[in-house]
C-alpha cells in the first residue's frame, strides 16, 4: 500500500514542481502581495478607531457627545485586557469608558491617538464629569505584521483548493483516473497520496515565503515557530479536505472552477484575510466560523501577534480537526473515479 501511495505522491510532486509557471505563481504572488500592500498601506488609514468599554454590543451615541464624532469608528469592547492590548499595538487609537467618571487610555507614541484625544477632550469640555487619562505603552503592530498571515492563508487556500480540487477533476475528465482505477490502486491510496503531496508542497512553499518576508520585512513574531507550523499544517489538511469534497464527483473543470470560487470568495471576504471582522455584527462573525480559513488566520495571528501557545489556540485547532474530519468523510464517501 505504501509503495503505491509513494508512487502517486511522487508523480504528483514532479508534475507540480516541473510546471514552472504554477510554481512561480505560488511563490511570487504572496511575496508580491505582502510587499506591495505593506508599502501601500502601512500607516495609512481612512478613519480613527476608538474602543468603547461597555457590556452591550451596540453603542448608544446619546451617552456622550464624543460618540457622535464624525470620521471615528466606535467599536464596543467588554474585555478591557483585549482592548488594552490593541491600544498597546496601535490597533486602537483610544479606549474610553464613558463612566461616570469618563476614563480613557491612550498610547502616547501613537500619533492618531493624539488627535482623537483632542476630540474627546473637546467633546467633554461642557461635561460636569471629570475625565481621567491613563497611558499605555507598546510598539505598533504594522500592517505587514497583520497582513502576512492573511496573505499566506489566502495562498494556502488557493493552492489547497485548486491544487487538489481542480487537479482531480482534470484527471477525471482526461481519463487519467480511469487508467488508475484499472490498477490495484484503491481510492483511499489515491486520495492519501494527493493530500500528502499537496501538504508537503504547500508547507514547503508557505515556509519559504514566510521566512523570506519575515526576514526582509522584519515582521513581528511573539510566539513559537513550531506552533505556527502546526497551525499551518492543520489548516492545510482542512483546506485540502475541502478541495476533495468539491472534486469528489464533479466532471467538468468549468463547474469545479465555479464551485471553488463559490467557496473561495466568501472565505476571502469573511475570514479576515484583508480586514478584521471586529466591530461587525455577531451573525456575520458566527458565519465566518464555519470557514476553516477563519480558524487558521485567527490562530496564526494569535501566535504571531499575541504569542499564543498551543493551549491558547486549542479551540481553533479543534475546530479545524473537526472540519477536516467532516470534509474527509464526505469526500471519501462520494468520491468516484469515472467520468459518467
Amino acid at each position: 500500500m505504501l509503495k503505491r501511495i509513494y508512487a502517486i505522491f511522487m508523480g504528483r510532486n514532479r508534475e507540480f514542481l516541473r510546471d514552472r509557471s504554477s510554481l512561480a505563481w505560488n511563490l511570487l504572488l504572496p511575496v508580491a502581495l505582502v510587499f506591495g500592500l505593506s508599502y501601500a498601506f502601512d500607516g495609512q488609514r481612512d478613519e480613527y478607531t476608538v474602543g468603547v468599554l461597555q457590556a452591550e454590543d451596540t453603542i448608544d451615541t446619546s451617552l456622550h457627545p464624543f460618540l457622535e464624532t464624525r470620521f471615528v469608528r466606535f467599536v464596543a469592547y467588554d474585555d478591557i485586557d483585549e482592548a488594552m492590548l490593541k491600544i498597546e499595538r496601535h490597533q486602537l487609537d483610544l479606549l474610553v469608558d464613558i463612566g461616570p467618571p469618563t476614563r480613557y487610555w491612550i498610547n502616547p507614541s501613537a500619533s492618531t491617538g493624539y488627535f482623537v484625544e483632542f476630540a474627546l477632550l473637546q467633546a467633554s469640555s461642557n461635561s460636569a464629569n471629570n475625565v481621567v487619562k491613563e497611558q499605555v505603552t507598546g510598539a505598533p503592530v504594522r500592517f505587514a505584521d497583520w497582513i502576512l498571515p492573511g496573505i499566506l492563508g489566502m495562498n494556502m487556500m488557493f493552492s489547497c483548493l485548486f491544487g487538489v480540487g481542480y487537479v482531480i477533476v482534470r484527471y477525471r475528465k482526461n481519463g487519467f483516473l480511469k487508467r488508475l482505477r484499472a490498477t490495484p490502486l484503491t481510492s483511499f491510496e489515491f486520495i492519501t497520496a494527493q493530500i500528502a503531496s499537496r501538504m508537503v508542497l504547500i508547507m514547503l512553499i508557505t515556509t519559504v515565503v514566510y521566512t523570506g518576508t519575515h526576514l526582509l520585512l522584519d515582521t513581528r513574531m511573539e510566539g513559537s515557530y513550531m506552533t505556527l507550523f502546526i497551525v499551518g499544517l492543520v489548516g492545510a489538511i482542512s483546506l485540502v479536505s475541502l478541495g476533495l469534497v468539491v472534486s469528489a464527483r464533479v466532471t467538468s473543470e468549468e463547474l469545479a472552477g465555479g464551485l471553488l470560487n463559490l467557496i473561495n470568495w466568501p472565505m476571502m471576504m469573511l475570514s479576515g484575510v484583508w480586514f478584521s471582522l471586529e466591530g461587525t455584527g455577531e451573525i456575520l462573525q458566527n458565519i465566518s466560523k464555519i470557514f476553516p480559513l477563519t480558524h487558521v488566520l485567527d490562530s496564526a495571528r494569535a501566535v504571531i501577534l499575541d504569542g499564543a501557545t498551543l493551549a491558547d489556540i486549542a479551540p481553533s485547532l479543534a475546530a479545524l480537526v473537526l472540519l477536516s474530519s467532516v470534509f474527509l468523510a464526505i469526500g471519501a464517501a462520494i468520491f468516484r473515479w469515472e467520468q459518467y
Binding site: 503505491r4 508523480g11 514532479r14 481519463g175 487519467f176 484499472a182 490498477t183 473515479w337
Partner: protein
C-alpha cells in the same frame, strides 16, 4: 482448454440507452480475441465492464473461474482507447510509476526493449508522437507481466507504418503467452491478429467464432465480383458489413 476470461450476461443500462444487452462470451487462455462492431455497438462499454472501470447494471465477469477481483487487477494489463498521462513526467518515470502500483512487476528493461522506447526514456509525455504514445501506453499495460491484456482500439489514428509496428508488438506479447482481448474498427487488423472474434451490434453479440470459420459458414466457396471483372474471396469486412448493415452509425 483453460478459460482465462468469461463474461456472463452483461447488461449496462443508461437512462436513455441499453448500451450492453446480455453479452456473454468466453476467452480461452493464450488466444487473441477480437471484439468488433460499428460505432456505438457497445464494445468499449463491454470491455470497460470487464476491466472493472465501469459498473454493470447486471451480469458477472470471471477470471480463471473466479469473480474478477483483486487477482484480476494484479494480473490484467489494460490499454485504453483514450488515456491522458501526467504532464511533465518522462517516459521512464511514467512506466516506473505504474509499475510501482503492482505486486507483479515486469523487468523494466524488457518492457522498454519490447516497446522500442529506448530512445525516448527521458522525453516528456507531452512531446511524444501518436505512435510513440501508443507504444508507451502499451508499455504501461505490460508493467505487471500481465496474463491478460486488453487493447481498446490501439491503432486508431496511427499511420500504416506505426500500425504494422504495433501489430508486431501485439504478436510478440501473445508469443510470450498472454491472452489478448482486442477491440478494433479495422477488419484487416482483426484478420491478422485475432484467433477468435465476436461481432457486436446494438449492445448484443451477433456472431462469434474463428474468422475463417465464420467466413466459411457465411459464404462457403462463394466469390465476390468486383468492377472490371475481377473476383476475390469474401473477407471480414464483407462479413462485418453484411451483418451490421451499411447505414452510417453515430
Amino acid at each position: 482448454m483453460t478459460i482465462a476470461l468469461e463474461a456472463r450476461d452483461l447488461v449496462k443500462v443508461y437512462p436513455d440507452v441499453r448500451a450492453v444487452d446480455g453479452v456473454s462470451f468466453s476467452v480461452p487462455e493464450g488466444i487473441c480475441f477480437g471484439l468488433l462492431g460499428p460505432n456505438g455497438a457497445g464494445k468499449t462499454t463491454t470491455v470497460e465492464i470487464i476491466e472493472g472501470v465501469t459498473n454493470a447494471t447486471s451480469g458477472e465477469v470471471y477470471y480463471y473461474g473466479e469473480i474478477a477481483g483483486h487477482r484480476f487487477r494484479q494480473e490484467a494489463g489494460i490499454q485504453f482507447q483514450n488515456t491522458a498521462l501526467q504532464d511533465y513526467l518522462t517516459v521512464r518515470e511514467t512506466i516506473s510509476m505504474f509499475r510501482s502500483l503492482y505486486d507483479r512487476q515486469a523487468d523494466i528493461d524488457d518492457i522498454i526493449e519490447q516497446c522500442s522506447l529506448g530512445d525516448l526514456l527521458d522525453r516528456d509525455n507531452r512531446k511524444l508522437s501518436g505512435g510513440q504514445r501508443q507504444r508507451l501506453l502499451l508499455a504501461v499495460a505490460l508493467v505487471n507481466r500481465p496474463r491478460l491484456v486488453f487493447l481498446d482500439e490501439p491503432t486508431t489514428g496511427l499511420d500504416p507504418q506505426a500500425r504494422r509496428n504495433f501489430w508486431d508488438l501485439v504478436q510478440s506479447i501473445r508469443a510470450d503467452g498472454a491472452t489478448i482481448v482486442l477491440t478494433t474498427h479495422y477488419m484487416d487488423e482483426a484478420q491478422v491478429l485475432c484467433d477468435e472474434i465476436a461481432i457486436m451490434d446494438e449492445g448484443k453479440i451477433i456472431t462469434q467464432g474463428a474468422p475463417e470459420s465464420l467466413l466459411h459458414a457465411r459464404y462457403g466457396d462463394q466469390l465476390i465480383n468486383l468492377a472490371h471483372g475481377e473476383i476475390r474471396r469474401p473477407n471480414l469486412e464483407d462479413l462485418f458489413l453484411d451483418l451490421t448493415g451499411h447505414s452510417l452509425r453515430v
